[in-house]
Amino acid sequence: MSPLLDVHELSASYGRAQVLFDISLQVQPGEVVALIGRNGAGKTTTLKAIMGLVSARADRLTFKGQSIVGRPTYGIARLGLGYVPEDRRIFTDLTVAENLEVGRQAQRGGRSPWDLTRLFALFPNLAEMRGRRGGHMSGGEQQMLAIARTLMGNPEAILLDEPSEGIAPVIVQTMAQAVRAMKAEGVAVLLSEQNWAFAAAIADRTCVIERGSVRFQGTTADFLKDEALRTETLGV
């Protein structure tokens, strides 16, 4: 089976400082992959580079077999690759319903499309506040809205940047359920995390990034067994 997302030797720089060095990783259809590493290791930049939000070079960067190097961000999104940024970036002036409208894209593939009914079933909180402005929501609610907004585009894979950052630990569990629900729907997820325990609870495979390079790639179970690696790369 060919990978859904295939990243091979991806490098990126900010100005003259290179921050990513030959990152290679793959995401299979319907799979959850965790990208973990410390703050500043290059997780966010990796996701942004895939999404075309920072300029990057790659030996090969394909989604559904099509090269996405140099493609504009909106074109990548339209291929079916969703993106939920670290700081969520809800449109605070728009209502919940309007936020979701911005994310709406035509259905693709054979799967049944996401619509308000299905999303509200997944995130019941949002249904109650569909007329509320994004700015008047808590951090956890905004995170759910950000995910729902991306799902409106009927993506086949989602890049999820630090879903547990800055929200109450109790909401983190709801986040974990949401990721499992997406997986159950056949949506592949590549998430970046600092919170390895959270990642371990939901990821099929784990990829550890350190100083802009891939340090480890394998099943989450293997990662959990390797305590020396964990201590060394994460300090935990």
Partner: protein, 253 residues
């Protein structure tokens, strides 16, 4: 007499209550952590103490002197130093000049317009930078520093005002794990040796439970718990509303 006394602070933004009846004290030499989910009102409370926001009600006093309506500049002169969530060094200046700038301001030389700024207070700036381990970068432009180093420079700048109270808004955000512990240990040793009270907000529960002497939990603008790290960790309401099932977070030992 407490170093900082906050009484019944309240603030609302267009009908949304960001802080309701918040009261607490900070003592000399203690590290008080203010925690809570995003949007709980941590920044609001912080900015009312720092003078960036004016409260709708309540009072703030430092060493029994009311400072509720004082400007950030007046608070600086009265002994409040602060660092920001996103490190806000003066990007166009060198590391040394950042600290020199604070020393110039403390010495009331802001209107001096003839002798060059870069020749003033060099020795003292160097000493402060040595304290945070950044003296070797004295002549380097701040824009070239790694983020963690900018945070250290910020700490030196805050210390240049010889503060009694240090406000640190997410001091370790954006830093690597080992750097986090080092910065907090440094802050702790400076606070104890100089008798400075430290009030900080933080998302990293390792930092909070590892370095705070006392913790204040804020939820929807209200304080729902205060106590030592052990007390807060054991508090049922805090677990239910914020910390949740601890093993899922990296805060677990």
């Amino acid at each position: 007499m407490s170093l900082l006394s906050v009484q019944a602070l309240s603030k609302a933004f267009g009908g949304v209550v960001a802080a309701r009846n918040v009261s607490f004290q900070v003592e000399r030499g203690e590290m008080l952590a203010l925690i809570g989910p995003n949007g709980a009102g941590k920044s609001t409370v912080f900015n009312m103490i720092g003078g960036q926001l004016r409260p709708d009600g309540g009072s703030v006093s430092l060493n029994d002197k009311a400072i509720t309506l004082a400007s950030p500049g007046e608070r600086f002169r009265l002994g409040i130093g602060r660092t920001f969530q996103v490190a806000q060094a003066f990007q166009s200046m060198t590391v040394g000049e950042n600290v020199q700038m604070a020393l110039i301001s403390r010495s009331g030389e802001n209107h001096s317009a003839w002798t060059p700024a870069r020749d003033r207070h060099r020795a003292e700036a160097r000493d402060l930078l040595e304290l945070v381990g950044m003296h070797e970068a004295f002549e380097r432009p701040c824009s070239e520093l790694a983020y963690g180093d900018v945070k250290r420079v910020e700490l030196a700048v805050a210390l240049a005002g010889d503060p009694r109270l240090l406000l640190m808004d997410e001091p370790t955000a954006g830093m690597a794990l080992r750097e986090r512990a080092a910065l907090m240990e440094l802050t702790h040793s400076i606070a104890t040796s100089r008798g400075i009270g430290v009030l900080f907000t933080e998302h990293d529960m390792d930092v909070v439970f590892g370095h705070a002497s006392r913790i204040l939990v804020l939820l929807r603008g209200e304080i729902i718990a205060t106590g030592t790290p052990a007390e807060v960790r054991g508090n049922a309401r805090v677990r239910q509303a914020y910390l949740g099932d601890l093993p899922l977070t990296a805060a677990a030992p």
